[in-house]
């Protein structure tokens, strides 16, 4: 089960399995982000190219206005996927 929430402090929290069936739901939440923020992956188990694509789109949109996403708490499998995709050059990953 996938979940995406935006906390009161602006942090975006992802959990569960971010697969292609979750694109529309996640897009709605990511489109609400208008300033720099942290995306917390600590509870996220899985992501595919569908999720990567949404995050890439959000990062592009934010950078146009001088803002950006910072990603934290990636498990080692998700971190590997980000590296293979070259997304470790696109995002600040902590």
């Amino acid at each position: 089960m996938f979940n995406i929430t935006i906390a009161d402090d602006g942090e975006v929290r992802l959990s569960g399995r971010f697969d292609a069936t979750q694109v529309e739901r996640a897009r709605g939440e990511l489109n609400r982000i208008v300033s720099s923020c942290t995306v917390n992956f600590e509870e996220l188990d899985y992501i595919s190219s569908a999720g990567l694509g949404l995050l890439l789109g959000a990062q592009k949109r934010l950078l146009d206005s001088g803002a950006k996403l910072k990603l934290v708490g990636l498990n080692r499998h998700i971190r590997e996927v980000f590296q293979i995709a070259g997304f470790d050059q696109v995002f600040e990953i902590e």
């Binding site: 292609a20 899985y46 890439l56 293979i84």
Partner: protein, 146 residues
């Protein structure tokens, strides 16, 4: 060897994951092997759903442990020819403004598995992926053969 057919629609993905999860549990696959299997199956399945719209035929997913390998086969019936092994490579070093998502899924699959093969005959396309079992996965299956 386990094989199941799924409707050629995005909503079937939950059933696909249920199938891969059952297989991973039955074969005691480790975290990374399960992750790679799920990613590979999702990317290929959704690619078929997105690119080959209109086809009513189901898509079969076959999972097997053969020796020290996980073998994944995706079989698409009534398929158009599209050789995934010859898809245009993705340049992952492009600057952000030029980055596109198209092709990223196949790039991930090709990077994470050890072998990928494509076969097309009589409008049936088969994609076969081989991933060598690693670490605890290998030890488990070695023990199982003794």
């Amino acid at each position: 060897m386990r094989r199941r057919s799924f409707k050629r629609e995005m909503a079937a993905l939950d059933d696909v994951f249920e199938f891969t999860s059952e297989f991973a549990g039955a074969h005691d696959l480790g975290e990374r092997m399960s992750f790679v299997m799920n990613l590979a199956v999702e990317e290929l399945f959704t690619n078929i759903v997105k690119c080959h719209r209109g086809g009513g035929a189901e898509v079969a997913v076959q999972l097997e442990i053969s020796g020290d390998n996980l073998v994944v086969k995706i079989i698409e019936y009534d398929a158009e020819h599209f050789d995934v092994t010859r898809a245009i490579p993705v340049d992952v070093d492009k600057p952000l403004a030029e980055r596109r998502v198209g092709g990223l899924g196949l790039h991930l699959v090709r990077s994470l598995v050890d072998e990928i093969a494509y076969d097309y005959k009589d409008r049936t396309a088969s994609i076969t992926l081989v991933k060598r079992l690693e670490g605890p996965d290998v030890q488990h299956h070695d023990r199982g053969r003794r």
